[in-house]
């Protein structure tokens, strides 16, 4: 199995190099022909004062995002510790059971 695996891997490398080369050589002009969506920002530029809020207020979105992240992480940690606690309880119970049966 190892021999065919290494044969496969060499083949993988060759195939990927060929495909990547093909894509790069001919993909460029095709990509250039795409419709132009709005230009993304190339870099973030800091500014002295915050501009006046317009249209959708930013604060609820900003605070909401942080609550989502911190809340999500908190609940995951909670879920993990609960699961771990339950399993460890079961482990202790079964170990006790085994010891008792070992004695009996």
């Amino acid at each position: 199995m190892l021999r065919s695996m290494s044969k496969c891997l060499t083949f993988v490398r060759c195939a990927l190099v060929v495909a990547a080369a093909l894509l790069v050589l001919t993909g460029g002009p095709a990509v250039a022909a795409q419709d132009q969506p709005p230009q993304p920002q190339d870099e973030f530029v800091p500014v002295g004062n915050s501009p006046a809020p317009e249209q959708i207020p930013a604060a609820p979105l900003l605070i909401g995002a942080y609550i989502v992240v911190l809340g999500g992480l908190f609940f995951y940690v909670l879920s993990l510790s609960r699961r771990l606690g339950a399993v460890q309880q079961d482990v202790q119970r079964l170990e006790g059971e085994l010891k008792r049966r070992g004695r009996a």
Binding site: E43, V77, V87, L94
Partner: protein, 218 residues
């Protein structure tokens, strides 16, 4: 838990507590105002969302090649973190986009492939839960395809003209924005390691439990 776990957990917790202060003190951005600050949590989440399937894929490849249970456990843990950080990224992104782009979602290359990557994480977890015996190897096969999706997500934003900021934004950040960002990235990376450790511990305990059930049956 290993000895380094508690001090690292305390440090990580402190970093998360301090981070909103650092972020509040960072300057606003000229085009997006204050809403861009979602980025300080969105981007580290996104990086962890790209790291997790890579860890899952490498562990799965090792598991298929060597057959060791610890590789399988690591793959499963990494798949859960893929779903977690993916959810955080895919929620904070649209919250930012609503203000910055005027829309919650666009079907461009990066967002679509990110959504796909997230769903592959879910598919892995569903398979492990409902696939029955032998699903560890099957899931490892799925994880390999998920890992292949990751470079596509990362480079798609540079090769396809999309509305999403390209990867060149990060190296060009001024110090006032770079410091909070790298602080948050460090906090998230520490958190990633801590969560992986906890999840692995759970898996080891489950394996022990299964062995005990078998021993009791004998």
């Amino acid at each position: 838990m290993p000895k380094w776990f508690s001090p690292t957990a305390i440090l990580c917790g402190l970093m998360f507590v301090v981070s909103p202060v650092l972020i509040a003190r960072s300057p606003d951005e000229s085009a997006m105002g204050m809403v861009y600050k979602i980025y300080y949590y969105h981007m580290p989440s996104a990086w962890m969302f790209l790291l997790a399937p890579l860890v899952c894929g490498v562990s799965s490849a090792l598991f298929l090649a060597r057959g060791r249970a610890e590789d399988d456990r690591r793959a499963w843990a990494a798949a859960e973190l893929t779903v977690l950080f993916g959810a955080l990224t895919l929620i904070t992104g649209p919250l930012w986009a609503r203000r910055a782009w005027g829309t919650w979602w666009v079907w461009d290359a990066r967002l679509t492939s990110s959504l796909v990557g997230w769903m592959i994480g879910w598919a892995y977890l569903i398979l492990r839960r409902y696939g029955g015996p032998g699903s560890d190897k099957l899931a490892a096969g799925v994880a390999l395809f998920g890992a292949v999706n990751v470079p596509f997500i990362f480079i798609s934003v540079n090769y396809w003209r999309t509305i999403h900021p390209p990867t060149t934004v990060v190296p060009k950040l001024p110090v006032s924005m770079g410091v909070p960002l790298w602080f948050c990235v460090t906090a998230f990376l520490l958190l990633f390691i801590l969560l992986m450790t906890m999840r692995l511990r759970l898996e080891v305990a489950r394996t022990r439990l299964d062995a005990l059930y078998v021993a009791l049956d004998e």
